[in-house]
Structure formats: structure tokens, C-alpha cells
Subunit: 319 residues, 2 copies
């Protein structure tokens, strides 16, 4: 079994490669829900949706979110009704938000609603929200305490960031199946998602880091940072705000207490050598995913690396 901890954007790209390399019944995704929002009165889970659409083959590759070929007529009408439209929801995408909101209103948990949506869309891999509790990523800025979507989508991550917190996380518990899947996995992959606001909320759920420390699985992370900048999005800004170096060293530091292997870009070979000398294990490859080939190759590289690593560890054990 392979467990992937992931956010939406970078994670979804990686997942798109992985789904062609691994049978779906061997895949479990533990997904960030700190970005969830109430939008037009509906419960929207952007990262769960990106992973679900990715696995269903419905994700818009151009946009990186939402349903491919979607239209925006309801959004346009909402604008004409003077409702906010800065968070873009397509007409087909809306169907999933309507279904999820109805299931939650009927008393289902987010896990159950997610499983139901996956079943309806024919997704065979298991998708788990990190928690069924409400955890909200808040970004403190000089211009106010913002929700992640306000910071990221509405305001284009232009605000300086004082700090990031996960409101409600102290009393949250991992969703059913999350800890078990990590403890019994053969491989745990940390997707190339934002370490602060995509992977950060998952790790902040009580019990999660402990499970990652205790598992006998190889824990591998794919860096979302190349050189001193994020491949996409505000990961660099947010890492800096949280006191982490914006580099693969910062990624290694964020995951230092459970990480076995960090996959970094070939352009970071020099830093990787330094990290390897200080006891980290960093493997360099091309981690940019511009097309289907890139995605498939990166997924396969991660899987091969863990398999070789396990074989060599086995050889060492028996030496």
C-alpha cells in the first residue's frame, strides 16, 4: 500500500502521474482540508476536489483545478446578483459542491461524503480528508487575519505574511483510516505540495507526526522548492514567514522528524550533497512536471528509489 499526503495543485500533478503507475486499490490519499471554505453557502473542499478530479480523469490540466472543459454560467449569474465571485466555481464543479453540502447537511462526515463522491465518480483509490473536524488555515497579515482562500485566491498572495496558524487543529483528530493507513503502508509519499499550508495542516493534526515517525514505511517527500523559490504558488513566502529557509534544506527541516528520502531537483545537487553529508538522504532528479511524460517519470522514479532503497537496506540487514 502507498499513502500520499497531499494538497491540491502540485499534489494533483504528482497524483496524475502516480495513478498510471500504481493500481488504484493500492493507493490511499490523505488530503489537506485546511483550505476548505463556505462558498455561496456550500461546503467546498478544493484539495479533496483536485485529487478526486485528478483520479477520475476530470481535472482541468490547463487551470490545475476544477473540471476540464467546465463553463462558468452560474458564476456569471452570481456576479449579476452582486454575490462574490472571486473564488471561481464552474457549473460542473458546482455539482460536487452541491452533493457534498447535501450529504454533510444530512449528517454525513466529510470522510463519508468524500467516499460517496468518489464512488459516484468511479474513483477506486481511497481518498481521506486529513480530519473530519473543521480545521481552518488562517494567514495573519498586516492587512488582517485572512482565510487561506482570501489570502491565496482573492488577494493573489500579495500580502506580507506574519504567520500561519491552523484554527481548530488542537481538538481535531485524524479522519478514520488515516493513522492506520500510514502505519501499515509500504511507502508514504509527501507530494510536492506547499509544506506550510498544504502539508502543514495535515502534520498539525494531533497524532499525525507520531504515525509518520512510527511507520515502518519508507517516507519520501518530493520537494516543491527548486533553488530558492517554489515551483508554483506561495510556498516560498510562507516558509520564510514560518522561519524556514526557502530551499530544499527548508523542506528537509519541515519534515526532519520522519523523512527518509527527499527527492529534489537536479539543479539542487550542490545543496543535496551538503544535506547528504549532514545525515539527510536526498536524491536528485528532474522534478518539474510539464506534461504527462514528466509526471509518469517522476512517479516511477519515486517508486523505484524506494524499492532499491528497501532492497539495499535488506542487503545491509543480512550482511
Amino acid at each position: 500500500m502507498i499513502v500520499v499526503l497531499t494538497g491540491g495543485t502540485g499534489g494533483a500533478k504528482f497524483v496524475d502521474g502516480l495513478r498510471h503507475s500504481v493500481p488504484p486499490e493500492q493507493l490511499t490519499f490523505v488530503v489537506n482540508t485546511g483550505d476548505d471554505l463556505k462558498w455561496w453557502g456550500l461546503h467546498v473542499s478544493p484539495d479533496l476536489d483536485s485529487i478526486t478530479y485528478g483520479l477520475a480523469g476530470l481535472l482541468s490540466r490547463e487551470r490545475g483545478w476544477g473540471v476540464k472543459g467546465d463553463t462558468f454560467y452560474c458564476l456569471q449569474a452570481m456576479g449579476e446578483l452582486a454575490e462574490p465571485i472571486w473564488f471561481h466555481v464552474g457549473d460542473r464543479d458546482l455539482a460536487v459542491h452541491l452533493l457534498r453540502s447535501r450529504l454533510l447537511a444530512e449528517g454525513k462526515t466529510l470522510s463519508q461524503a468524500t467516499a460517496e463522491i468518489c464512488s459516484r465518480l468511479g474513483v477506486q483509490a481511497r481518498i481521506l480528508p486529513m480530519t473530519d473536524s473543521r480545521v481552518e488555515t488562517r494567514v495573519d497579515t498586516p492587512n488582517g487575519d485572512l482565510s487561506f482562500q482570501e489570502y491565496f485566491v482573492q488577494r493573489w498572495y500579495q500580502d506580507p505574511v506574519n504567520s500561519v496558524r491552523f484554527a481548530g487543529v488542537d481538538v481535531a483528530v485524524p479522519a478514520p483510516g488515516v493513522v492506520d493507513s500510514i502505519l501499515t503502508a509500504r511507502i508514504v509519499i509527501i507530494a510536492p505540495s506547499n509544506p506550510i499550508t498544504s502539508i502543514g495542516p495535515i502534520l498539525a493534526v494531533p497524532g499525525m507526526r507520531k504515525a509518520l515517525q512510527q511507520t515502518s514505511a519508507a517516507v519520501v517527500a518530493v520537494s516543491p522548492i527548486i533553488g530558492n523559490a517554489a515551483v508554483t504558488g506561495p510556498a516560498g513566502i510562507l516558509m520564510a514567514a514560518q522561519g524556514l529557509p526557502v530551499s530544499i534544506a527548508g523542506v528537509a527541516q519541515a519534515y526532519h522528524d520522519f523523512l527518509d528520502i527527499l527527492i529534489a531537483d537536479v539543479r539542487d545537487s550542490a545543496v543535496a550533497d551538503q544535506l547528504n553529508q549532514s545525515g539527510f538522504r536526498v536524491h536528485c532528479t528532474n522534478i518539474i512536471m510539464n506534461n504527462a511524460n514528466d509526471k509518469a517519470r517522476l512517479a516511477q522514479t519515486v517508486l523505484d528509489l524506494v524499492t532499491r532503497s528497501a532492497a539495499s537496506r535488506g542487503a545491509t540487514d543480512h550482511s
Copy 2:
């Protein structure tokens, strides 16, 4: 002031004529909400929407409901998610249901939500739901006790009908402004809507018939029946089920305790003569509304008739 009691389909056509003859600030609509339904978790008020869209110039004239030029991509996606799609909601139409549902979830009454939607759409006439309470039209058939939309839309009104009832009406009260507007009106018009399931629920709200009996306004109804059949829809079937003749005599009987003038079609002149001899006041004209001219002419006929009637009554008073 003119008050119009109305349902959706026939009423909306009549309203489309009336809005060109009367300044909006002189018009109040009291609208049936017995057809309201929870659909995809949202509160849908089909008759309120038809009247609102009609007054906003947004109503689809081809369909007679929903927004003109609307698309159905969300509906299609709901179908792919195995959600029910027999009640058709367009992508633009959905925006109004989302807004109304959010306002209701925030604690607004249906009256307040309706006023807000009207304001956002630039509708200057006043639209009032018959009540802010939940009243549900139920159609008892040999195949089960159906909601009105199940009977009408899902099952194409093919079931024999035992009876119709308005669940919850006993404890309902007229929405704020409804009784006052009737009592202070110069003219009350009963639109050519289904007497049983469009006008029937309005009249069943406690206090409504009394207001119509007490008002000094001329109360005029436009018949939805020509000969022995409804112009559209199941009005005939439902009148028969409720023990009324399917004819203008049945319409006159449904409204006998408050009606001053019934407007019937010229083809019903013979029955009209009989009714006139028995003390009813029936005026015959062409009541079919095939186009904008028909609608405008019918609205003007109703207004002229009431004005002439008031003048002659005034003359009688002074004689």
C-alpha cells in the same frame, strides 16, 4: 395599488402583460409557495422565481419557467453523479436558488429573501410569498402521496388524483404585507393560474379569504379554463378531483365568496350568460396569450373593465 394573486406559469404570462401597463411601484404580487421544494439541498420557489424573472425580463418565454438562454451543465454533471435531475434547474437559475438558500440559512424569512433577490435583480414591483411558513401542496394519488413537483414535473400529471391538500397550512399565517396590501388595494386580480394548486394554497392560508371578502377593491379573476379544459397544465384534472365543474362555472364557484368579476374567453359566452343571469358577473374576451400583444391587450382589458365598473358603480352611488 393593484394586487395580483398568482402561481407560476399562466400567472407569469399575465404578469408579462401587466408589467407593461402599470408602473411597477403600483404592483404587488402575492405568490403561491405550495410548490416550493428542496432540490439538491437548495430551497427552490418555482412560482416566486417565475414571477421574479418575468418582472426582471429574464423569464424564458419558450419554456415558461427559468431564465431565458440558460444552460444546463450543472444539471448534466448532477446526472453523472447519479443525483436526480427530473426537476430541471439551469446554471443561471441555480444562482437564485443558491442565494435564496444562503439567505434562509442565515435566518432570513422567505419574504426577506424574496425582497433581497428582487432588489438584486432590479425588480421594483413588490413580490410577496403567500406565507413565510412552510406549506406544502400534496397530491394524493393511487400511486402514493406526492409533492406537487413529483406529481406535476416528475410524473407528468399522469396519475389519477384522489385529492389535494396543503400540508402545514392550518398553522400558517400570511406573510407580512399580504393582508394589508389586499385590504388597501384598488384592484385585486386573480391571475389565470390553476385554481386548485396555484391560487388554492394562497386562499387556504388562514385570513386570506376574509381579506378578499373585506377589501373594498374590485376583485377580478382571469379564467385559466376555456370550455371544459385548462389552457395549460393539470387545472382541469385537479378541479374535477376537488369536486368542481371543469368550466368557468367551476372557476366562479372556487372564488364565489369574494369575486366581483370573472374574465372568461369569448368561446364561453353561452355559459357566461347563464352565470350572469344567476348573479355572477362574467365578462368575455380573448384570454389566450400567444404573444406580447395578446398579453398586453388582456392586461389592459382587465384594467379598463375595473375602471369602467368603478365609474358605473360611482354613477349608481350618486344616482
